[in-house]
């Protein structure tokens, strides 16, 4: 369980998180959403213990996360960052194997079991055929899958993903989130930062919206995924309807202008604004 109590965090003079409190219990599947610059990534970095907080507390199972040795955190929390750097020509398999580092004894090499877990993780993310290729020779989307496989190979109870599927095509996005759902049903807690509202609504049971470094709304997906709430947070016109198959709410953005009419020019459409949220 992760408990975040009134944290402030940021870089140099700039405060990014301004008093965030959250409770994340075991086996949740949470989407963290919000406009650009709202503090999503900083929140993820703070709650995984890599960005120091200026005040407040982050507790992992009741103990401040900073009191855990780095390796102990890595055995419990895996993180897929927004962007990965690959400075050297490692094979994708070597990159995935790095997920086994927290379990290594000093001086020891990765064991056969580590290699099997890494292979298994690559199979689950569907990148087995890339195993021997250099990580610098694969596409951006494939590199994201490699990083996801690394997090899976880390075999942690908590999986944190920061826009981990942003470069993937629609089918791969679904494939990855199906995999995360499977991990969740097997007991993992999944926390993902997303820009894709509909993907979040499809897979996450709880959504947390950030704006300007604060939590604006936090609740069950069907309770918070509403026209007026989304429109206000993103300051643009958004309508919600039911997904034709699953029935989960899905968002539709309303353009301010629409290319309608024979002239081909842009013309203001007459869509009316959503009514103000009541309460």
């Amino acid at each position: 369980m992760i408990e975040i109590i009134n944290i402030f965090a940021g870089y140099q003079d700039q405060e990014v998180l301004k008093g965030i409190s959250l409770k994340i219990i075991h086996n949740e599947m949470i989407g963290i959403l919000g406009p650009n610059g709202s503090g999503k990534t900083t929140l993820i970095m703070a709650l995984t213990g890599v960005v120091p907080i200026k005040s407040g507390q982050i507790l992992l199972d009741g103990k401040p996360i900073r009191t855990y040795p780095t390796r102990q955190v890595a055995k419990r929390v895996a993180c897929v960052p927004q962007k990965s750097e690959f400075s050297f020509d490692f094979s994708n398999l070597s990159i995935v194997l790095m997920g086994r580092y927290p379990y290594l004894d000093s001086w020891a090499d990765y064991t056969r079991q580590d290699r099997e877990l890494a292979e298994d993780a690559m199979r689950q993310t569907g990148i087995m055929k890339l195993a021997q290729k250099s990580v610098k020779q694969v596409s951006g989307g494939e590199a994201q899958l490699v990083t996801i496989a690394r997090a899976i190979a880390q075999t942690t109870e908590i999986l944190v993903l920061d826009e981990a599927t942003s470069n993937l095509d629609a089918a791969k996005k679904i494939q990855v989130f199906d995999l995360l759902t499977k991990k969740n049903s097997e007991g993992a807690t999944v926390i993902c930062v997303l820009h894709d509202l509909n993907l979040a609504a499809l897979y996450c049971r709880r959504l947390i919206f950030l704006k300007n470094g604060k939590v604006v709304i936090d609740g069950q997906t069907e309770d918070v995924f509403k026209d007026c709430i989304l429109s206000e947070i993103y300051e643009t016109d958004i309508r919600v309807s039911k997904h034709p198959v699953t029935g989960t709410p899905q968002a539709h953005f309303v353009p301010h202008c629409n290319a309608v009419g024979s002239g081909g020019g842009l013309r203001r459409t007459g869509f009316c604004k959503v009514d103000k949220c009541d309460g």
């Binding site: 140099q12 970095m45 995984t48 213990g49 890599v50 040795p69 780095t70 390796r71 102990q72 955190v73 890595a74 055995k75 929390v77 895996a78 993180c79 960052p81 990965s84 750097e85 690959f86 400075s87 050297f88 020509d89 490692f90 094979s91 398999l93 070597s94 990159i95 790095m98 997920g99 580092y101 927290p102 290594l104 000093s106 001086w107 056969r112 290699r115 099997e116 292979e119 199979r123 087995m128 055929k129 195993a131 021997q132 250099s134 610098k136 690394r150 880390q154």
Partner: protein, 360 residues
């Protein structure tokens, strides 16, 4: 189907492991052969069999009354000590180059560009300039000690310059290194122009040389070399992980600040050990790691071992060339040889490599 690909990976892993073992054995054999052959080359002709006997008796393996004590002294005390010292320096420079490149993720990082070599050269030049070169401590001149202090101070200066808000920035570090190296280089030139008499000995420090060095130098440098080598090899896996970036490495459980500090200290000790006994020798720290990385990949524990061995071999033969290349019995600074061979070779390496240097 999946099982087949699985065993394919396992097979591949075993294959890579064997390849590394084979490369290590070949380079080790080449290094030992180089040491023996390099002992047989010199201005005074000594038959190969006498040379072998001298070596054996020097190590106390045989007692041969017929052996000329002068031959024995030339082989064991002069040539072998110098060859061993050059091997040590080659290893130190290659490994520290690989470590600097790995931890700073910069293909141009090496003892020279990071300013550590220049610090050592300045320390030595200052002592020569002050006329203290003949003073002794620990059984040899004070110069190696001054070079060691200079090298470590330069590193401290570079780290201080590169720290922004308490965070060491790796890109700033190379810039700071170049600034410090250039500044210290200018100071060395100043010392040279102020004192015409010491120009020659300062030049030999700036370009690197093993002339007149022997066992006492090797013994002086040995502890720093061993300590530095153990430090960087201990953290080789952490260097692998830190190539993903600082945050990802920490997410995987690496104590990045500690690892970076240890590797920088280790690599600087290696550099200081080398510079303190030989002066500034360029290009070995660049060429050897790049060549190995292109051949066996970026895995740092393997990289350190193989580039160390390669550095040994390159330095042994560079020093042989420095000893005998001029006809009149004059010696060249060995740094001239490594730069003359290393510069063009490095260009070919960069141009010819299909997979690049292993860096972005």
């Amino acid at each position: 189907m999946e099982n087949i690909s699985g065993t394919g990976l396992e097979h591949n892993y075993q294959h890579e492991k064997r390849r590394f073992a084979a490369s290590t054995i070949i380079l080790m054999a080449a290094a030992v052969t180089s040491v023996i052959l390099a002992c047989s080359i010199g201005r005074i002709e000594i038959p190969f069999s006498v040379m072998l006997k001298s070596l054996a008796s020097g190590f106390g393996l045989i007692h041969d009354e017929t052996l000329d004590p002068i031959h024995r002294a030339i082989i064991f005390d002069i040539r072998l000590s110098r060859v061993c010292l050059s091997a040590m320096v080659g290893l130190a420079l290659a490994v520290s180059g690989a470590a600097f490149q790995g931890i700073l993720r910069n293909p141009l990082a090496d003892p020279f560009t990071i300013g550590v070599s220049a610090g050592g050269a300045f320390g030595a030049a200052l002592i020569i300039f002050l006329g203290l070169g003949s003073k002794t401590s620990l059984g040899l001149g004070i110069i190696p000690l001054a070079a060691l202090v200079g090298a470590l101070s330069a590193l401290a200066a570079v780290i201080t310059l590169a720290r922004v808000d308490g965070i060491l920035r790796r890109d700033t570090m190379v810039l700071a290194g170049i600034v410090v190296a250039t500044f210290l280089g200018a100071l060395v030139s100043l010392l040279k122009s102020l004192d015409e008499e010491s120009v020659a000995s300062i030049v030999f420090w700036v370009m690197g040389s093993f002339q007149g060095r022997g066992w006492s130098h090797a013994i002086f440098a040995f502890p720093y070399l061993i300590l530095g080598f153990i430090l960087v090899v201990t953290y080789s896996r952490e260097i692998d992980l830190m190539s993903l970036g600082d945050f990802p490495a920490r997410h995987l459980g690496v104590d990045t600040n500690r690892a970076r500090a240890m590797v920088l200290i280790g690599a600087s000790l290696l550099t200081a050990a080398a510079v303190s006994v030989s002066g500034v020798i360029g290009f070995v720290g660049l060429v050897a790691p790049h060549l190995v990385r292109m051949t066996i990949g970026p895995n740092h524990s393997r990289l350190f071992i193989l580039s160390g061995l390669l550095g040994m071999i390159v330095m042994i033969w560079s020093d042989v060339a420095a000893r005998i290349i001029l006809p009149e019995g004059e010696e060249l600074p060995v740094g001239v040889i490594t730069a003359l061979i290393g510069g063009p070779f490095f260009c070919v390496l960069l141009k010819g490599a299909k997979t690049g240097t292993g860096f972005d």
